[in-house]
Structures are given as C-alpha cells and as structure tokens.
C-alpha cells in the first residue's frame, strides 16, 4: 500500500503536471487547457446522438492571466492537471473578487492593496514572501526557510512599477508568488504587517 501512497517525496520530485481521466475532473479543480494552467469554472457533458459517447466541455480560467479557455474532449481522455504551489507566509487581507471566485466571501484582517487579483484564483488566504532587494530586474525574496531566492523577475507593467516605487521608498512589502508548471510569477504585493 505504501507504494501508491508516498507523501514523503513532497514537492521535490513532483512533476509539473499529472494526468487524470477527464471524467474524474471536478468543478473548482485545476486542469491544463491549451497549455495553460487553469481553474475549472464550468464543466458539463454532452454526446452526439443518443448512442454517442460522453464528451466533456470544460471552461477554465488561467490562474496567471485570468484569461478564459475552453475545451471539449472525450470523457475517456486523460487531461493534464497542474501542480500548483504558492510560496511564502500566510498574509492578511480581503479580496472582493474572492467572493465571486470561491463561491463564498473570505475576509481577512486587513484589506489588500490593489493588484491583489491573481492569487485569488487559489484557494485559501494569500501567501507572500518578504521583498528584501531588487537587482537587475530580479527580486530578492526572503523565503520561509530563511534562504533568499533571487531568480524571480520583477513583473512588467503597473505591478512592477509599484513594487519598485515602494521598495525605493523603503516600504516593507510582501510579494505573493504563484507557481504552476514551468511558470512562476509575482502576482501581488501588500504592505507587511508591523
């Protein structure tokens, strides 16, 4: 029995995705659609003709970009399910979009700063890493273990500007990092609780 149930390996050996029979997927679960890791927001079945085989119609939302993807496939097919991780410590706050996404509102002790959108695709409260430096377009983040990771790019656009600006002003901020498949991104910032 121990063979099928080995939790010891933890995330070290976990692959980016694992296969699952389409019929075993569930709404609110995750799936790879068109190469993107998605959260399943709609799932229905149909068949062509009375004697046809079931096909599953999936609608998912990209957990990084929020873009909608759809796919239809025979229910016997295997689909890839992404292994998703969040890095860092539990943060505090409240995101209005959580209500829509998780079905029930979740509130935290303090409100979240703007930009706190994408982690909301995950279950549970946001997790974040402390930002301790920015070098050549890369972030230095203090990890749970005490190690520093320096391989995460400063995001482009408004979020990146905001991080830089706050960092330059000497504000202590937390960065939420989301990883799935080969992708990893800073997706939100918040002020560190004093």
């Amino acid at each position: 029995m121990a063979d099928d149930l080995d939790f010891e390996t933890g995330d070290a050996g976990a692959s980016a995705t694992f296969p699952m029979q389409c019929s075993a997927l569930r709404k609110n679960g995750f799936v790879v659609l068109k190469g993107r890791p998605c959260k399943i927001v709609e799932m229905s079945t149909s068949k062509t003709g009375k004697h046809g085989h079931a096909k599953v119609h999936l609608v998912g939302i990209d957990i990084f970009t929020g873009k909608k993807y759809e796919d239809i496939c025979p229910s016997t097919h295997n689909m890839d399910v992404p292994n998703i991780k969040r890095n860092g410590l539990p943060g505090k706050g409240r995101c209005p979009r959580l209500t829509k996404i998780w079905g029930a509102p979740v509130s935290f002790a303090e409100p979240l700063p703007r930009g706190g959108v994408c982690w909301a695709w995950l279950r549970g409260p946001p997790l974040a890493l402390q930002l301790i430096g920015i070098q050549d377009g890369y972030l230095s983040l203090l990890q749970d273990s005490g190690d520093v990771r320096e391989d995460l790019r400063l995001p482009e656009g408004d979020l990146g500007k905001e991080i830089e600006q706050k960092y330059d002003c000497g504000e202590e901020i937390l960065i939420t990092v989301l990883s799935a498949m080969t992708e990893e991104a800073a997706v939100a910032i918040k002020a560190m609780a004093k």
Binding site: D4, L5, S23, T48, K50, H51, H53, T76, R123
Partner: protein
C-alpha cells in the same frame, strides 16, 4: 356595479333579447355575445371576476342564483343560435365570426364550475382556477342537458366546422365537457346509460371514416378520456354490446394512428407535439380501462392490446420491421444532434407511455412476450455480425478513417426500445414496497409450464454466448425466461465487444438500458419468494428460486457485468451510476447478498476499491459513494466469523489506515492543498457518506463505532480546510448522513457521543465563519450549501424526538460496557447552539431560495415543538428574529411554510401558559400571533388544508389571551353595519366557544373547539372574506 343590480338589469334584457337575437344584425349579435361572455366571467367567481369588495358568501349566492336561472337561459339561447347557424350553408366571414363567438360562449357555459347547493366550505374552491372542470351541474339542468338534441347539435356543429382550427378547438372542448357529464343531473343509472349510448353513437359517427385534422387530435382524445374516466364501468358495459365494441375498436384505431403521427412529429422535430400529447392521453385511458377485470371478461381486450402494442413497437423500430425515423413519404431521416446531460432519458421521459404499453403487453402476453423475444434475438444476431464486420475492417486496415455507424446506431436504437418495453412489461416500478411478479406474467408462465422442457430452458438461460436457436429444442422453453435470456445475450455481445477492444463502437445508452433492465428484473425475480404468491411458476422457481444453481449462476454473471462496466465505463457517469445501483440491488437483500459474497469477484472488487487504484478511482464521487455503500451492505451477509473479520479487514480497515497515514504526516498542514492529498481526503469523506448510507438496524452498532472514530478527525479537517468550501461541505455532509441514518437507532450514551461531536463541529464552523459576510446579491443557491447542510444536520438531530428505534443501547449491548450517562450535552444544547449560529446568517434574501427557506422553517418549527421551554431563554435579538421569521412565514411564504409556522405556535403558547409569566416577551409575541391567526381564519381566504393547524394554534392562543380574544371579536362585530350579518356573526362566535367555556388546555375541549371551528368556517367563513 353591484352584482345584484347587475343581475336584475341583465335578466330583463335577456328576456327581450331572446326573441330578437336570431334576427338581429351581425353587429348586435356580436355585441350581445360579448356582453354575455363578460357576464359569465363576472359571475363565474373565478380569478377573472373583478374585485368589487363583496364577501365571498355574497359572490357564492349570486353565482348559485345565476347558474340555476340565467346561465341556463344563456345556454339555451346559445344552443338556438348555434342551431340556426348549423343549418345555414355558406357562412360569410362575418357570420362565421359570430358563430365562433357563440361557440366559445357555449364552451364557457359547459366548463362552468357548478357550485353545489350547500356552500359549506366550498367558498374557497370558488376562486380556485377553473381549469379542467368536469361538468357536474345541478338537477335543474336535467331537462336541458339530457335532451339528446343538444348533444347532437354539438356533433353536427363540429362536423360542420372541423376544418377551422380555432373553432374546432371550441367545439371539441364542448364535446369533451359533455363527455364528462355526471352528478345529480342523471336521475338514475338508466338515464346515464342512455346518455352514454347516444353520445358514443354520435362520437363514432363523427370520428369514423374521417381523416383527423392535426388540430382535432387533442380534443378527440379528451373526449375519449373523459368518457372512460367519468362513466362507471357498469354503465359502460350496460350500453349495447355492439356499440361498446365499436367504441373500443375506434379507440384502438385512434391510439395506433395517433402513435404513428406522434412518431412523425418527432422525426420532423415539431415544437408543438399535438399528437404526442393526444397519444399520451389515450394510452392513459387504456390503463384505466384494462385495469378492471371485474366488468370485462378475461381476454376481452387482448386483441386490442395486441394492436396497440404492435403499433408502438413498430413506431420505435427501424425499417423494414418498423417505421422509426421515416417521414410520411417513407424517406428515412437521420440527424446526429447534440444531446446535453440535462436531457431526460427515454425511460423517464416516456415512463407513462411505457407503463401503459407494458400493461397492454401483459394483457396480451401470449403474443407480446414471444414477439419481443424474437425481435431481440434477431437484433442480437445482427449486432454481433455487424460488430464482427467492423472488427475485420479494423484489422484489415487499421486507422482507415471513420466507419459509417448508421447500421450500428439503428440496431442500438431498436434494442434500446425493446429493452425499455421489456422492462416495463416484466416488472413494475416499485418504491418502498416489495416488487411482485405481475400476475399476468406469472399466469402465462404457469399456463405453459407443462409444455416446457426445464433443462433446455436452463440451457438457454445459462449460455448467453450462444445463439438461442442453436440450442436443440429451443422452442420448448419458458417464454419469459427466454425473453430474459435474450437480454442477457445483448449483454454478452456487449461484453465480448469490450474484450475485443471495440468499446468505442458500443453504445453507452444501450449499456445503460441493459443494467437498468437487469436491476429491475433482479429486484422482482431473483430469488423469488414463494411465500408471496398463491401459485408459482415451476420454471421460475427452478431457474432463479432460492438455493438453485440457476440463481447462483445469474448472481455471478451479474456481478461480472457490474465489475466490467465499472472498469470500462467509468467515463460514462450515468451508465456507471445505473451499474452501481444494480450492485446495490444485489446486496441490499440478505438472501441475495449471501450468494454475492460467495463469488471470488466480489472480494476482488472490495480489495480493488480499498486500494483506490485505477480504474475504480476514475469513477465519479457519487458512484464511489454508492459503491462503498454496496460493499458495506455486502459485509452483512451470512459469513462465518473468520471470514467476516477478514472481509472487514479488506474493506473498512484500509480506509482508516490510509486516512490516518495522510493526516498524521508532520507536514500535513503544508501539503493539504496539494491535489493528491486533497483527492485522498475527498475520497475518504465520500466513502464515509457511503458507509453511513448503508446503515440498517442490524449493522448500526458496528458502523456507528467505526464512523465515530472518523468524526473526531473530520473536525480537525474543518480547521485545515477552512478556506476550501467544497471540502468543508463534504465534512458537514458526513455528519448529516450519520445523523440522518443512525441517530434513530442510538441509545442514550451513543447519541450523546454524536451530540458532542456535532457540537464541536458547530463550534469550529462558527469560529471559522466569524465575521464572514454573505452579501453578494448575485450569489447562487449552491454557495449556501454549508448553511443548508448545517440546518439539515440540526433537523436530523432533532428527528430523534419523533422517530426513535433505540432500546437503551440494545443494539450495542455486548459491544461496550455501559457508560455513565451523566454527561451534560443534550440534543437541545447542540441544536440551540446551532440555531444561534444559523439565525444570524439567515437573511430575508436567503429565504428566497426555496431549499434554504423550507429547511429553515422545518428547523425552527421542530425546535418550537421540541424545546418550547428554551425559546424564552434565547438572547433577545435571536428571539426577535425567530418571532419575526414566524410572522414572515405566516404572512408571505408558501402554504407549506405557513402550515409549519402555525404548528410552531401551539407549543409556544402552551409554554407561555405553563410559565404563567404575563410580562415575558414570548407572552407578548403570542398576543400578536393571536391577532394574526384570528385574521387569517376569519378575514382571509385560506387553504382548507390548514384549518386544523390554524385551529389548534388559534385555540391555544385563545386560552392564553382570553381577554384579547373577546376584544377582537367585539371590534369585529362593532364594525358590522348590517344587523343581519351582525347577528349571524355574533351567534357563530357564541357557538364557536360554547363547548369550551372557559377555554382550557384540555384535549377534549380542544377537540370540541376544532369541531365547532369547522362549523364556524362553513357557516360564516365566506361572510367576511372579501373579493
């Protein structure tokens, strides 16, 4: 305008009109007809009647006077006008428009909802909808309606205008109303027979030999259906034999013809399925007609049944045997349309039709059973051949593009319908009762048992892989068993195709039909219990009776089918579901389970499921849950102690072990959101629900102890998964199921354990929900699933107060030494804690969701009934919101909720009486409720079903607040200006309380009061209720 003056003015005009109308100009005729129509609406006391602020009683009186006098005159006038029209040739457009108006008017009169002479409690029914009213006039209408010329006129009119779609509807509706004539209008049975005979004659003259228009189908079927429903059997049989035969022949002819037209409608995919509706109605009439063997001799309907049955089969089979998918000119049409999961299965969508056809098939068993057998056997051979050809094609040129599946699809569809009809013919739908073999089928088998060779029959049954006709002597076998074996042959072809890797060519729909049939069959026939029948067929008893090789073989075969399906069809949710239901059928009765557990396969299935390895873990959660249920049920079959021990070690222990392994990992908190871990947890929770579902009185001790160990750990999971609503819901669901299935069997100390666990669950839930707001207006019902489940849990816990089978831990004796029952958690504590939790979360908006609303009111009523003494102790704001909920429930919710609230009032008022605190807030609240209930009973129209609940609440409230009650009565009386009404009301109120003065909470007095209340309602109930 006042009704009374309107009535007199109108009557005057009617007198005058009578003489001139026929000769008046079209303009005047149209005007007169419109006025009459409006008058009818006004007097009909239907929802069309305007609100003019008069009492229901007044409305009723007017209506009665009107219906005995003027209504009849209007009818006679209408008849005269129609007669005049029917004589004329070549009506111009304007005239036919007038004609149509009068016809509609006649229809309105014939659809009149006649008030009986004594109004009584009927004043309520007056304003109910006037749909589908049967014609039941008073005696005064005798002369008018029994006049044969009247009914003849309507037949004549119909013949004249039947091609006009609109008018034909009205004229047929008139005929359908005349076909429903009953009641005091007939002086004796003889007159009823005469009327019916004439009517049928007219009907046959109208219907026979014509080509029915589409617009006539529904009306004609209503006429037939009304005749068959309304006229008693002895009247039907009293008409001349020949006439009755012609009637039944005509019904047969029409049924077959409507069936064919309905099939055409389906091919053309019409929106308006008039023939389908008409066909449904006629098939339903057949069911009424043939389910009576007292008045018709045996075999009377056989030939007709054969015809209807044949035509049904024919419409559902492909050419050349049948006409399915053929358009009127014989061209086959075939469309591959997308079918969504919401589309109902044929067996449900057409269940009424199939039930009728199955019944007719039984009546003509001699014909129908062999027919189904030969059709099925033929299809099996063809399906086998076709699949083989496909296989060869695939072998010859692998991947050679798509194969045309038309032939296969046609075969699948044929087999689909044949299996459905066979299922409905051989067995009944049963809910809760022991399914019995239909007597017609049993008799048929017994009748032929002397000509049957038992061994050959067993051989046919036991060799589904061989062609039936290849077995020597195959014609001397029991026909019913051969029909079953034909379906086993279909199943076998399916299994072989799967083994040959042709699954992609098979039809999941057919797979579903097969297991659906086998389940239905097994429920009724497998291990047939001799004690339930006067006479039992020897072939049945030999083939699948108790202790026979046949039954052992068949159980093994079915089990193999189940296992194969679960492996192969995990991706077809419905099919997997039907399959696992078949498995439950096999183990839910001890006798069958005993055979099941002797199969090696069963043990393999159990082990495989416990390992949670493919393919079983591909199954959807609901299927896995039911599979767990089946495995647990099977564990209570008869086994020796060692075997039993071994079984539980295989089935239940791995579940526990795996679960503990997961949650006891040090880093469980960190990895709990990982997909694998979550799947493991979800699967365990689903399995726990399945185990709870398998609870029966004789296994509750074991299962409860097993589940209790989990419940504590589940509470820990609530914390871990507090931000994962699906998992939280599933955890609560486990508690709901355990409480639902087990609490009624638990003795004091075990119940206490469960209460404690539930209380802790609620505490954790409450902590995690603190400050959580539910304000999203776009939220859907399923987002409040947790709230619904919590309320369900509380209701289930309370249900022990109503249903309790426990005998102070009787079932647990010997399992555990008796515990001191001095722990302090009671059901009341848990439930009140829960209510404290739920009440603030339930907003008025949430009550708009029906499921939440019903569950909520069920819960609060239970609480008021069971713990009325706790209500006054509630914190003030909770108390207020509870009272407000009750008020809301009584005034603006469904009648079901209103009834619940009324039921809650009685114990509350009794509680007040007991406590004798006249300044408590509950006391004050009940005073308010007295006024509400008083108004409800006296002033508003209310549902008569609620009189008892309202009456009981009313009486208790009156006892409590006698002075206030007298005041209410005084106020009401003093507002009456009419001295007659005043006196009647005053007398009625006096009489109401006469038997219970002074009112006291004594059962006898209460009953007396309820009786007086009924009289009171009949007497003055309509007096103050105003429309």
């Amino acid at each position: 305008m006042n009704n009374a003056s309107m009535l007199s003015t109108y009557s005057y005009h009617l007198e005058n009109q009578n003489h001139h109308l026929l000769f008046a100009s079209i303009f005047w005729q149209t005007l007169a007809c419109s006025i009459l129509t409006a008058l009818l609406s006004e007097f009909s006391s239907s929802s069309k009647t305007s609100n003019i602020g008069l009492s229901m009683e007044f409305h009723g009186n007017c209506k009665r006077i009107f219906q005995e006098g003027d209504l009849r005159q209007i009818f006679m006038l209408t008849v005269e006008v129609l007669q005049e029209f029917s004589r004329r040739e070549n009506l111009n457009a304007q005239m036919s428009s007038v004609f149509q108006r009068y016809l509609a008017l006649a229809n309105q009169v014939l659809s009149w909802n006649f008030l009986p002479p004594n109004l009584g409690r009927h004043y309520i029914a007056m304003f109910e909808s006037s749909q589908n009213v049967m014609l039941k006039p008073t005696e005064l209408w005798r002369e008018t309606l029994l006049d044969i010329r009247v009914m003849e006129l309507f037949f004549t009119v119909h013949r004249k205008i039947r091609e006009d779609t609109d008018m034909a509807q009205d004229s047929l509706q008139c005929l359908a109303q005349l076909a429903s004539l009953h009641g005091p209008v007939f002086p004796d049975e003889g007159s009823q027979v005469d009327y019916l005979a004439h009517f049928i004659e007219g009907l046959l003259n109208t219907v026979n030999g014509i080509e029915i228009e589409d617009s006539e189908a529904m009306g004609i079927s209503s006429v037939f259906s009304n005749l068959i429903t309304v006229f008693p059997r002895n009247v039907l049989t009293a008409i001349p034999n020949e006439l009755f035969s012609s009637f039944v022949n005509c019904l047969t002819h029409l049924t077959c013809s409507f069936g064919r037209s309905a099939a055409l409608e389906e091919v053309l995919d019409k929106d308006d399925m008039v023939y389908m509706e008409a066909y449904d109605k006629l098939l339903e009439s057949w069911l009424t007609l043939v389910q009576d063997d007292k008045h018709f001799h045996k075999g009377f309907f056989t030939q007709h049944a054969v015809q209807v049955f044949n035509s049904y089969i024919q419409c559902h089979l492909a050419a050349p045997d049948g006409t399915r998918n053929l358009t009127a000119n014989g061209v086959a049409s075939r469309e591959e349309e997308e079918i969504s999961e919401l589309q109902e299965d044929d067996r449900d969508q057409f269940s009424d039709q199939l039930a009728s056809v199955g019944m007719l098939g039984r009546i003509a068993a001699e014909h129908c059973i062999p027919l189904l057998t030969s059709l099925l056997e033929d299809r099996v051979t063809r399906l086998h051949g076709q699949l083989q050809r496909h296989q060869q094609q695939l072998l010859a040129s692998p991947g050679s593009g798509s194969i045309d599946n038309k032939v296969l699809d046609d075969l699948y569809e044929d087999i689909h319908w044949l299996i459905l009809v066979t299922g409905y013919l051989l067995a009944n739908d049963t809910q809760g009762e022991t399914p019995l073999i239909p007597p017609e089928v049993m008799e048929y088998s017994i009748k032929h048992s002397t000509e049957v060779d038992i061994n050959t029959t067993l051989q046919i049954l036991g060799s589904p892989g061989e062609k039936a006709s290849s077995i020597p002597g195959y014609n001397r076998t029991d026909s019913v068993i051969r029909l079953l074996s034909a379906i086993l042959r279909v199943s076998e072809v399916e299994s072989r195709a799967i083994r040959a890797d042709l699954t992609h060519l098979l039809s999941p729909q057919m797979g579903k039909d097969i297991v659906w049939f086998l389940k239905r069959w097994a429920k009724t026939y497998l291990l047939v219990d001799e004690k339930l029948y006067d006479q039992i067929s020897l072939p049945f008893n030999t083939a699948f009776g108790a202790d026979t090789e046949g039954s052992q073989w068949i159980v093994g075969y079915l089990l193999e089918k189940v296992i194969s399906n679960l492996a192969v069809w995990s991706s077809e949710q419905d099919l997997a579901n039907d399959t696992v239901q078949l498995l439950v059928t096999l183990v839910e009765r001890r006798e069958r389970a005993n055979l099941v557990i002797q199969c090696e396969n069963w043990w393999n299935l159990a082990k495989q499921f416990a390992r949670r390895s493919p393919p079983l873990h591909f199954l959807s959660s609901s299927v896995q849950r039911t599979l767990m249920k089946a495995l647990v049920l099977g564990g209570f079959a008869h086994m020796d102690t060692d075997t039993k021990q071994q079984y539980w070690t295989e089935v239940l222990q791995p579940l526990q072990q795996r679960f503990l392994n997961v949650i006891n990992q040090e880093n469980f908190q960190q990895i709990c959101q990982e997909e694998e871990v979550k799947q493991e947890i979800t699967a365990t929770l689903e399995a726990l629900c399945g185990i709870a579902e398998a609870t029966q009185i004789d296994n509750v001790a074991i299962l409860f102890n097993f589940l209790m160990d989990f419940l504590t750990n589940c509470i820990g999971l609530m914390e871990v998964y507090k931000n994962t609503p699906e998992t939280v819901n599933l955890i609560i669901e486990v508690f709901v199921e355990v409480a639902h299935k087990q609490i009624c069997y638990l003795g004091e100390s075990k119940a206490m354990n469960l209460y404690e666990a539930c209380l802790t669950l609620l505490q954790v839930y409450s902590k995690n929900n603190l400050g959580r707001q539910r304000i999203d207006v776009t939220a859907e019902e399923d987002q409040y699933q947790d709230l619904l489940l919590i309320m369900e849990l509380l209701t289930n816990l309370l249900s022990k107060e109503f249903i309790d089978f426990s005998d102070t831990d009787e079932v647990f004796r010997g399992h555990e030494p008796g515990q001191a029952a001095n722990r302090s958690v009671s059901a009341a504590d848990v439930v009140l804690y829960g209510v404290n939790l739920v009440l603030p979360l339930m907003s008025q908006d949430l009550l708009k969701f029906p499921s939440l609303c019903n569950q909520y009111y069920k819960l609060i009523t239970f609480i008021c009934e069971i713990f009325p003494e706790k209500i006054p102790q509630l914190p003030e704001d909770l108390f207020k919101s509870l009272m407000y909920s009750l008020e809301l429930g009584m005034s603006s919710m469904s009648s079901e909720v209103c009834q619940l609230c009324l039921e809650a009032l009685t114990p509350l008022a009794e509680q007040c009486a007991k406590a004798q605190e006249t300044d408590s807030s509950l006391f004050l609240a009940t005073r308010h409720f007295l006024k509400m209930v008083f108004d409800m009973l006296v002033l508003q129209k209310h549902n008569t079903e609620m009189t008892t609940a309202a009456g009981e609440a009313f009486y208790t409230l009156v006892c409590l607040h006698q002075a206030e009650y007298s005041e209410l009565v005084e106020t009401l009386l003093s507002s009456q200006q009419d001295p007659v009404i005043y006196q009647r009301l005053a007398d009625a109120f006096n009489k109401l309380t006469a038997s219970s003065t002074p009112p006291s909470l004594d059962r006898k007095q209460k009953m007396a009061f309820l009786k007086s209340l009924e009289e009171f309602m009949a007497n003055v109930g309509g007096l103050l209720c105003v429309k």
